[in-house]
Amino acid sequence: MARMKFYCDAERCIECNGCVTACKNANDVPWGVNRRRVVTIKDGVPGERSLSVACMHCSDAPCSVVCPVDCFYTTKDGVVLHNKDICIGCGYCFYACPFGAPQFPTGAAFGSRGKMDKCTFCAGGPEENFSSEERKKYGSNRLAEGKLPLCAEMCATKALLAGDADVLSDIYRKRVINRGASVLNWGVAYQNAGLRVSQGKAGKASSSD
């Protein structure tokens, strides 16, 4: 079975927030809840990079470990989902998550948390596929339609990739080699770029050499 992953290429992300908009549109995410966000580091200074971040669907998901009601489960595609009928809105997953993925509607009195909402990799929830209940609680189920998450599908620069980890790492490996970084000296980038230009290999991946 596939092991679904997101990958965001910081060298390509242009901070257009198209993925955020696509996610909101695909899943009818309520106001105040953001399953995906684009974070820009060193905004306006040299070295500025942007990354689109959502639930990373961890293999060893901290949210799932600390959940007091055990509402998380991992699908056969490696997507980490949760059952909103079981969730009690305690916020522990939010404390444990490295990426700030769990979101809580805060419409209730004194800001008490509602049931948690997070990126589902556009894979719906535990309800029957394409049911109105699933749509209402979790948004779209594009994976069941044979499609990938809309955020990655919409990405104009193909910075945000979604899919099987093997495929994604293959794509990214080709990109990295093309940029000239050496796996033996990964702290040094672009050192062979000039060499590749002189050999007429610029812009080509190694596999197509």
């Binding site: 966000r37 990354l51 971040v53 009601v69 055990d70 009928d85 522990y92 004194f110």
Partner: protein, 355 residues
């Protein structure tokens, strides 16, 4: 001769020029020798990978970097929450196992003590004469705190251990309702504990300061090692329990309010740290309260009535709180005779206030 002189003058001129131009350069030469050559060979050129720098920033290694994002909210600009994994390890590898060991261990010790020593009897048996130990006000504050403490304690323990203990019994859906009710009750009743704690501290603090016999009482372990130890209204053990309950109770209240009201703008790190303090305080208080409850009920004959109707037997007071007994007797002898039977009258209540 002439040629030789000219050559000599020329050499002197060159030497002078060399000295004039080279002498000021010597410090630069020294510094150049002392510092290692930078980029002397092509292999040594280190161009930091922009990605490496980026990921170091993202992981907040060595630097605190907060990004910018269009999403409004607390901590939304932070890409990696550093404390999440530490909090997970604390909760799953320290709090859950060691909390269970501590509470279970204390319960086991108390049970073992009960098997060995049994209920501690009043020396000389019941006299039938009763003296007022706790006024109605003191008892109400105590039982109000007890009620809030155990509502919070039980709901908190359900949230901490329910996944291991109750899901196998109730099933996921059944436990979800239990846990949801526990969470809501914990969050709604929680702020009341602050009022209970403040009332408890104000009511009992005056008799819980250190007094001269306390160290002796502690060294003799409260008379458990044999022999009689004198004590005032509260013995050193009760005083320590009072101060632990006050300090950990207030810590519970403050951290609880931080965790309860998630709209105050506090971030994950503050809430995770609050949870650590909250849970340690709660486990410590629950563990010690087992001992307190044991000595107040099954562990010691004649002690429960002090919190039930306010009265203790005269022989109980002589055995456990002799100095307090003397105070009460002296106060009463001036006022009214010792009450028999155990009916609270205003006269007796007043006599407690006067000491």
């Amino acid at each position: 001769m002439n040629i030789a002189r000219k050559r000599h003058m020329r050499n002197a001129g060159i030497l002078t020029l060399l000295v004039v131009f080279i002498l000021p350069l010597i410090p630069y030469a020294i510094s150049a020798v002392l510092t290692p050559p930078a980029g002397s060979t092509e292999a040594d050129v280190q161009v930091p990978n922009p990605s490496t720098v980026l990921w170091q920033d993202v992981r907040q290694r060595g630097v605190e970097i907060t990004g910018k994002t269009q999403v409004q909210g607390v901590d939304t600009g932070v890409l990696i929450n550093k404390t999440g994994e530490e909090w997970r390890k604390y909760r799953m590898e320290i709090l859950v196992p060691y909390g269970a060991y501590l509470m279970g261990g204390i319960l086991a010790l108390i049970f073992l003590f009960y098997l060995v020593r049994g209920s501690l009897k009043i020396p000389g048996g019941l006299s039938g004469k009763k003296i007022l130990r706790f006024t109605l006000n003191e008892r109400m504050v105590h039982w109000f705190t007890v009620l809030i403490f155990w509502l919070l304690g039980v709901t908190g323990l359900i949230l901490l251990y329910g996944r291991m203990v109750l899901i196998p019994l109730l099933g996921p859906a059944g436990f979800s309702i239990t846990a949801s009710a526990s969470k809501e009750m914990h969050n709604l009743i929680g702020p009341l504990f602050l009022f209970a704690m403040l009332a408890l501290i104000i009511t009992f603090i005056k008799d819980n300061f250190y007094s001269s016999g306390d160290m002796k009482w502690l060294f003799k372990a409260g008379g458990l090692l044999g022999g009689h130890v004198s004590a005032g209204r509260f013995n050193a053990g009760e005083k320590i329990w009072f101060w632990i309950a006050s300090i950990f109770g207030l810590a519970l209240c403050i951290t609880g309010l931080i965790l309860d009201f998630a709209i105050l703008g506090q971030g994950r790190e503050v809430m995770a740290l609050s949870h650590v303090i909250h849970s340690i305080s709660a486990i410590v208080m629950i563990s010690i309260s087992f001992g307190h409850i044991y000595l107040g009920t099954a562990g010691m004959q004649g002690s429960f009535s002090s919190m039930a109707n306010g009265y203790v037997d005269e022989n109980w007071a002589k055995a456990h709180h002799d100095r307090w007994y003397e105070q009460v007797k002296n106060a009463k002898s001036k006022d009214i005779p010792v009450q028999k039977g155990g009916v609270a009258t205003s006269g007796v209540a007043d006599s407690r206030k006067s000491d």
